[in-house]
């Protein structure tokens, strides 16, 4: 009986305090600023631009031959044949191909920049298996020369993610690939945040060595579930605060926890899951984990075994962001097939994405997609260029929750556009001109439009 005494006392006190707070004038409402590091990105000055006579892959699955693309004030206005419009600037793209700006959903540029010296290793907060409190944008070094190299490969938007050492590694951030000397100057306005999760070998290896959970795959699952339980309770506290306050009461605001802010943001649907997960059985469990706690399991990244559960991914509305051919570097990457993307893509309502996770292949996502297209067609698929381009444009935009803004050449979309010297799925293809929000940000033949990072300036 004695055991009960303290808790009875606490309960009584709790009731008394709550009673006190519920009455009388309301204190100012406590609310959380969900955007404390806001984007300061402003599109560069642009002219109305008409690109003529190109082979246009719209990103919506269409191909238009000898077609024109017209953009004004940073937005696509018309795409079609023989447009009769007045443009400040007309570019004859005879023999060239035009696509939406390329989007990479998985990059560590800025957080693991080059030069990859020890003091630049800012992508993995390897001190606890759940670090939902960290935001990778706080690690981004905007002078990473890799941003410029990626732009030269047609990358106009990219998501920077924390690494995969942790079960929950922290927030990702989506950037416009625009040169800037602040992170905020690159931040994609109104793009949702991502949350990086990781399955499999990495978390259990990193923390198993330290003798803390997880050291096994079952430990991984326990770790996520514990975190989501905490988040669920935290959200309940805040929801109660909100509803009590709205009811005219004067509740005490819950103690703020930035780790749980982020997890609660997922439960509210504001933050999208980006889950490093290779294996079929693990992805299937991560889908159920989302259902257990009432959030959507989002995009699976790397997904070397996604082809084994292509139907499950489509049924549950998961995007799968995949490589064409990386394999064998660890056990969970052993079962690669070169047609992975195509097999995932072939299911109705699928969302197949080709991603890089690399500061080199991000420069050639067109080639990475090309590898898949041709290898799949070798074994009987019938994938066209206009379809394959979706893997690195509109499907990628969907994965990031920015498909209402970019990822296709449709009227009203942001004019993120690439002019290629030829079919972009050839090894010989090169981005010749790149536009972000209608402004030219790269021109292969004009040094004036070739950005150089502070780090490279003056190096001999």
């Amino acid at each position: 009986m004695q055991k009960f005494a303290p808790s009875v006392l606490v309960m009584a006190l709790g009731v008394a305090l709550a009673g006190c707070q519920d009455n009388g004038p309301q204190d100012p409402k406590v609310s959380i600023n969900k955007n404390p590091y806001p984007s300061t990105y402003k599109p560069l000055a642009s002219q109305s631009t008409l690109i003529t006579n190109a082979t246009v892959l719209t990103g919506t699955g269409e191909r238009l031959d000898d077609a024109d693309v017209f953009f004004v004030d940073g937005k696509v206005q018309q795409v079609g044949k023989d447009l009769s419009v007045q443009a400040d600037k007309t570019i004859d793209a005879q023999g060239k191909w035009v696509t939406p700006g390329i989007i990479d959903v998985h990059s560590h540029l800025g957080a693991y920049p080059t030069p990859s010296v020890a003091s630049h290793q800012d992508g993995n907060e390897m001190t606890s298996p759940v670090t939902a409190e960290v935001w990778v944008e706080h690690s981004v070094w905007p002078q990473d020369p890799g941003f410029n190299r990626a732009r030269e490969g047609g990358i106009t938007s990219l998501q920077i993610l924390p690494g995969s050492a942790n079960l929950i590694g922290g927030r990702g951030v989506t950037l416009k690939n625009i040169p800037s000397h602040t992170m905020q100057g690159m931040k994609f306005p109104d793009a949702p945040y991502g949350l990086k999760m990781a399955c499999g070998e990495n978390p259990k290896r990193v923390y198993g060595r330290k003798g803390v959970l997880p050291s096994t795959r079952m430990g991984n699952m326990a770790g996520y579930r514990t975190a989501w339980i905490d988040a669920t309770e935290y959200k309940r506290e805040w929801d109660k605060y909100e509803s009590d306050y709205a009811a005219g009461k004067n509740p005490a605001a819950p103690h703020r926890d930035i780790k749980l802010d982020t997890l609660a943001g997922v439960l509210e649907g504001d933050i999208l899951i980006h889950n490093h997960c290779y294996k079929a059985e693990e992805m299937a469990m991560m889908i159920d984990l989302g259902k257990e706690f009432g959030y959507h399991s989002g995009t699976f990244h790397h997904g070397v075994e996604a082809y084994k559960i292509a139907d499950l991914l489509a049924e549950n509305g998961n995007c799968a962001a995949l490589w064409p051919d990386w394999w064998g570097f660890k056990m969970e990457a052993y079962d690669m097939v070169q047609e992975n993307v195509a097999i995932v893509d072939a299911v109705k309502n699928s969302c197949a994405v080709v991603h890089s996770d690399s500061d080199t292949t991000i420069q050639r996502l067109n080639q990475e997609a090309g590898k898949v297209m041709y290898r799949a067609n070798d074994v009987g698929y019938d994938i066209s260029e206009q379809h394959a381009i979706k893997w690195i444009t509109s499907n990628a935009a969907k994965s990031l929750g920015i498909d209402d803004k970019t990822g296709s050449l449709e009227a009203g979309k942001q004019a993120d556009v690439v002019i290629w010297n030829q079919n972009p799925f050839s090894v010989y293809a090169k981005a010749e001109q790149v536009f972000i929000d209608g402004a030219k940000v790269y021109d292969r033949n004009d040094d004036k439009y070739q950005a150089q990072s502070d780090f490279m300036l003056g190096q001999k």
Partner: protein, 408 residues
């Protein structure tokens, strides 16, 4: 050769008792577009005849062979040769027990070819890229000397090590701890030590002594993995002092001293895809470098960067990118075939009489994604490009009422 000896040889091969280099059947590939990797360049509508694992004729007046294959105009190249990886020495990078490329105690006399596994799943996969041979190298240990390179073929045979101990590999340049000058001193001390050693005729020299003697004689290439221009420049001076057969591997900044390298006749094994300043040693990495080195007159070998054991099949795409950024088509082809044969003294890498019959027929331009291997031959034997990956794909794309495990 009589039918009798032929079948005897075949049965020996089947029993695994005979070298796979012996192939009795004669074969002609006709109506091919031969990219010879020689001064002959490209031969249209050409034929090549293979016997006993060797190329015996190109465009002969008459052909009398067991099998004739009509290439229907398709491109035929010499098999591509990978370099500087641990093919057959690793199965899964992060699985310790499957990794035999390096050892803490490795040094000048470390020869990992003793661990070469021709049954590795990486080998059939690499064949998809038209790779028929590979220069395997030790990955390194505590010493600056990683050990000895060997050349293997991708036949899958237990006799696939073609040539052992073809080069000594030394790691120089940037260090995580200490000075690069100490690494250079270690190298110089070893060379000096061997040079000034009193030869004892009664005592058999150690492997290390033999290797160093061959390096000093210029018989065995010394592959220096190094990026920075100043380090490369120092090494060229060392080459001149000791008469070394120096090969630069890495060479992100080699372009800065391209003329020096050309003049000193130093080949460079480069990744044509390197274009980021990975460190302060690599500030000049650029997609145009392979082409620039070629133009300066340097013998260029293209190698796949990163995990080149699992990804060596991509070599042809790296060559394509090199062309895209300024290398000649011929130069890029040589950079994945004949230049490697030249540097390591291999009887392959070209389509020429007397060469090992390592040949690949391509559905299209071998450097572009649209092409795949139509057929390929190693030591005159046709080999398959089917790999474990194809089995997995078929299992998961074949309808069955039974669990996938029953689809084999």
């Amino acid at each position: 050769m009589t039918k009798l000896t032929k079948s005897l040889k075949l049965s020996l091969v089947a029993a695994g008792l005979f070298s796979a280099t012996a192939s009795a059947a004669s074969l002609a590939i006709v109506n091919a577009t031969l990219h010879t990797s020689t001064e002959q360049g490209v031969l249209e509508g050409a034929s090549v005849v293979i016997e006993d694992g060797k190329i015996v004729a190109i465009n002969p007046a008459s052909i009398n062979v067991d099998t004739t294959i009509d290439a229907k105009g398709q491109i035929v190249t010499a098999g591509f040769i990978g370099t500087m990886n641990q093919l057959g020495l690793v199965e899964v990078g992060a699985v310790d027990g499957s990794r035999d490329g390096g050892d803490d105690k490795a040094g000048i006399d470390f020869d990992p070819s003793l661990a070469f596994n021709p049954r590795s799943s990486l080998i059939p996969y690499a064949r998809k890229g038209g790779i028929t041979q590979d220069v395997i190298v030790p990955s390194g240990g505590d010493s600056i000397f990683a050990g000895l390179a060997s050349v293997v073929d991708l036949s899958g045979s237990f006799e696939s090590v073609n040539k052992k101990q073809v080069a000594l590999v030394v790691h120089l340049g940037e260090k995580s701890k200490g000075s690069r000058a100490m690494s250079m001193k270690t190298l110089i001390d070893k060379l000096e030590g061997e040079k000034s050693a009193k030869k004892d005729d009664k005592k058999e020299p150690s492997t290390e002594q033999k290797v160093l003697a061959a390096v000093l004689a210029g018989d065995m290439p010394l592959i220096a993995s190094v990026q920075r221009a100043s380090d490369i420049y120092e090494l060229v001076k060392l080459k001149e002092t000791y008469g070394l057969n120096l090969v630069i591997h890495g060479g992100d900044d080699a372009v800065v001293v391209a003329d020096t390298l050309a003049k000193a006749n130093v080949p460079v094994i480069i990744s044509s895809m390197a274009n980021l300043p990975g460190s302060f040693d690599s500030l000049h990495a650029n997609l145009a470098n392979a082409g620039k080195l070629e133009k300066a007159g340097v013998k260029v070998i293209i190698g796949v960067a990163g995990d080149s054991s699992h990804n060596v099949y991509q070599l042809r795409f790296d060559a394509g990118n090199a062309v895209s950024y300024g290398m000649s088509q011929q130069g890029a082809l040589s950079a994945v075939t004949s230049n490697i044969a030249d540097v390591f003294g291999l009887n392959s890498g070209t389509i020429a009489k007397g060469k090992r019959a390592n040949l690949v027929m391509w559905s299209d331009d071998p450097f572009d994604f649209k092409a795949h291997v139509s057929k390929m031959w190693i030591n005159g034997e046709e080999v398959s490009t089917e790999a474990r990956q194809d089995k997995l794909r078929d299992r998961y794309t074949t309808d069955s009422t039974m669990p996938r495990a029953y689809t084999k």
